[in-house]
Symmetry: C2
Subunit: 461 residues, 2 copies
Amino acid sequence: MTAPSLLRPRHDEAIATRLARSAATVGAGATLRTADFEDWLEGRRRAHHFEVRRIPFAELDGWSFHPGTGNLGHRSGRFFTVEGLSVHTDGGPYPHWQQPIIRQPEVGILGILAKEFDGVLHFLMQAKMEPGNRNLLQLSPTVQATRSNYTKVHRGADVKYVEHFTTPGRGRVLADVLQSEHGAWFFRKANRNMLVETEEEVPLDEDFCWLTLGQIGELLTRDNVVNMDARTVLACAPVPTDGPEALLPDTDLRSWFTARRSEPEVRAERVPLAEVADWTRGARSIDHVKGRYFRVMAVAVEAGNREVRGWSQPLFEPTGTGTTAFVTRRIGGVPHLLAHAKLEGGFLDRIELAPTVQYTASNHTDRTGPDRPPFLDLVLSADPARVRYDTVHSEEGGRFLNAESRYLFVDADESQAPLEPPPGYAWVTPGQLRGLAGHSHYVNVQARTLLSLLNTGAVRL
Amino acid sequence: MTAPSLLRPRHDEAIATRLARSAATVGAGATLRTADFEDWLEGRRRAHHFEVRRIPFAELDGWSFHPGTGNLGHRSGRFFTVEGLSVHTDGGPYPHWQQPIIRQPEVGILGILAKEFDGVLHFLMQAKMEPGNRNLLQLSPTVQATRSNYTKVHRGADVKYVEHFTTPGRGRVLADVLQSEHGAWFFRKANRNMLVETEEEVPLDEDFCWLTLGQIGELLTRDNVVNMDARTVLACAPVPTDGPEALLPDTDLRSWFTARRSEPEVRAERVPLAEVADWTRGARSIDHVKGRYFRVMAVAVEAGNREVRGWSQPLFEPTGTGTTAFVTRRIGGVPHLLAHAKLEGGFLDRIELAPTVQYTASNHTDRTGPDRPPFLDLVLSADPARVRYDTVHSEEGGRFLNAESRYLFVDADESQAPLEPPPGYAWVTPGQLRGLAGHSHYVNVQARTLLSLLNTGAVRL
C-alpha cells in the first residue's frame, strides 16, 4: 500500500472543458430560463424602493472638502477620496495634464460563486442596485465588496456569500487575480477578481439567480444588463484557449509589451484637488473648463436591498458616451484582436493592453488629420456588415454616473488595419489576451469587458 | 501552391532543449575553457587601471544635496537621486519606518546576447568594473546600461552591442521582462531583463567572452564572480520546466499570492531626505542612529574600460553581510522551494516572492523568541550535510558598496519546515517560480539570483 500522493497537477484541463459546456448551455439553466430573466429582474426592481437624486455637495452626509487640500473625503477616512492628479509624460499626445481622480487604496473582492447543477456549471449572479446605473439595477457578481463593506465600516448588513471567498480552502478557486480599473478615473485601484466553485448546498437569496456561462452571454447581447464587475470577473475565467499558433509567438508579444512599458517617462503625482488646473468647483459639480471628460458631482440614495438603507456620495459623471472596440482580423484563419499599449495616468505600471479604440469621441473633436485618434473613425463609420457586436454597457455604477460605452467588435482588412500595425498596436489572439489576463497589470478593464464577451459566447469571431 | 503561413507557434519547445544542452556543456566552450577563465579575468584586470576611493560628499563632482529637500542628486537631473522614504504598513513586523532610498525612474537594459557555436548556445559575458564590488571586476551581461548610458548623457563611449537589444527584429528574443530590484534600497526600480539570440557574426571585444550556460553555472559556484545583473537575466532564461505536478496547482499558488498582496495596507511615500527620522548626515556618510542597515557614502572612481574615464558618485554600503536562502524539500519526490511573500517598501506593488530567508542577521539581534525572523536560525545553524549550496555574491556594484550576501540552498524536514508552512510562506517548484519570473512584479531580485543557480546547473536539487 502506498501513501496517497501529495502532488497535484499544476494545470487541470478539465475545468476548461467544463466552462465550455457551461458556455454552450443557452436558453435555460437549472433554475431560470433566459426568456424569463427580464421578468425576474423586473420583479427584483419592484421588490425594492430605489431613488437616486442629484444633490449639491453641501448636502452630502459625512463627506466634505478638506479645508486645506480641497480633497473630498468621508469623515470615517474610508471608502474613497476625490483628489487631484498631475501627470507629466513623453508617452502620449498630451505631455501634461491635471484632473480630479478617485483614490481608493483598499483592495476589494469581486467574486462569482460557481456550482454544478445537472452536470453544468452555473454562476450565482446578483440583482444589485448601483446609484450610477441609468437603470439602477443590473446583474452583478455574487460578491462585490470593498474591504470597508465586509469589515462593517458601513455598519450595515453582512455581505452575503462573502465567506466563500474569504475562507481559504472552502471552495475550489478557478481564478483569483488582482486587476486594475479605469486608469483615467482611478488612482492605482485594483480589485481581486475571483471565481470560486463550491460543492456545498447554497441557500438562494431572493436577489440572486444561477445562470450558465452561455445564459450570461445571452444577457451580454442586451444593453446595460450585466455590470462591469461581473464582466471583469468573467474575463478571468479559464475557458479553453484557442489554437497553438498566432501571428506573434508569446515571447515576442511579451517583448513588444515590455518595450512599450519601458519607453515612456511617466510622472503621475497626487496633488491637492483645490490646486488642479483647468477644473473649477461649483456648488453641484467640479467641471473641466471646456466641459470635457467628466464632472464630479453628488447623489443621495434611498435603497432597500443594499448593505445600508440610505446614503449620499460623490460620483464621476462622464460628459459623453464612450466608444470601445476591438478591431479584428482573421490571420491565417485564426481570429486576432488589435490591442493597444495604452498609457493611463492612474495605472500603477504606466501601460496596459487596451482595446484598439477607447475614446469618448466628443472629447476629441479638435483632433483632426494625423492627430485623430487611430482607428476611431474606422469604428465610428464601419460598414454594418463588418460589425460583429455593438452593445452599450455601463462602467462601475458605484463610482460613475451614467458612464456608458458602446462596446464593439469590428472586422477590418489590410487597408484598414495592416498586419504591421502602427507603433503601440499589436495583433493578439483571444487566447493570448486571456493568458495575460491571468496576471495583474496587463489587460485593462475595457479590454476585459470585450474579453468577457468572447468567454461567454456573446461574440464569436 | 499555398502562401506561406503567417502564423507561428505560440510556444517553441526547442529553445528549452537548446538551453538544456548549453547548461550541460561544462568545462569548455567554443572559445574559453572554464579552467582558463580566472587567468582571462585577471588579464582584463591588469589591462585596465581601476581605483576607487572613499571621499567626503563635498568632493563629489556634479552631485550635491538640494538646499531645500536635502535630496542628493546630479546637476544633469539624470542618473539617480538619493531621497527619503516613509513607509506605513500593517503588513510586517515594523508598522512605520523612514530611510534613505535610491530613486531611478528610467528603465535600463540588462541584456545577454546568445549565439550558437558548434551547435551549443553561448552567452556573451563582459568583464566589467563596478566601483562597489570588493574585487571591482566581475562578469556582467553583454549590456548593462541605463537609458542615460546609451543615450549619451555620460558623453562617453558608445555602449557596446546595445544595438542587438534596441533594434526590434534584429535578433530572436528568448526573454524580455521588466523586473524589480532591491525593494529595501530602490524606490520602484525596474530593469528590462533581455536574452537575445543572434545569427550574425559578432566581433569579439577584448573585455568580452563567450560562455555556455553550464560554464556560467561553474563560475556561479565561486564567490563574487558573476554579478547580480547577469544573475537576474539568467533567472529569466526559458530552460526546461520540471514536471507537471506540484504541491499547489498553479491556480492555487496564484490565488495564495493574490491574497497576500491584497492584505496589507502599504503607504510608501517619498519624503525629503533632510527630514528622514532616525538617520543623520555627516561629512562622509548618512547613517542610521543605531548603525544598522546601511550608510549612504561617496566614492571617486578612476577606470579605463568604462563608458567614461573617471567620475564620482554616491553608493549605499550595507553594514553587514546578508543571508539569503531557499529552504528546500522533496515533496512526493519533486523538489520544492519555500517562498516568502515579502513586503519591501520600494516595491511598486507591495509584495513579491522572496527567498525563505533574506535578512542581514546583524540588523535583527534584538528580535528574539517568537519575534525572531522565521527560518533564519535554521539556515544559520544548518547541518553542513543539508547545505546544497553556500556561496557569496555581490549585489549591484554600480549602486552598492561591498553589498554581499551568502546565498544558500538548505534542505529541511517536516519538523523544520512543515508542508503547511506559516502564514506568508508557500512551497513552490522551481518550474512554478520560473513561470512567474516570466512576468513582472512576482519574483524579487534575491529569489532570481537563487533561480539563476538552478537554471545554470550551479545547484541541482
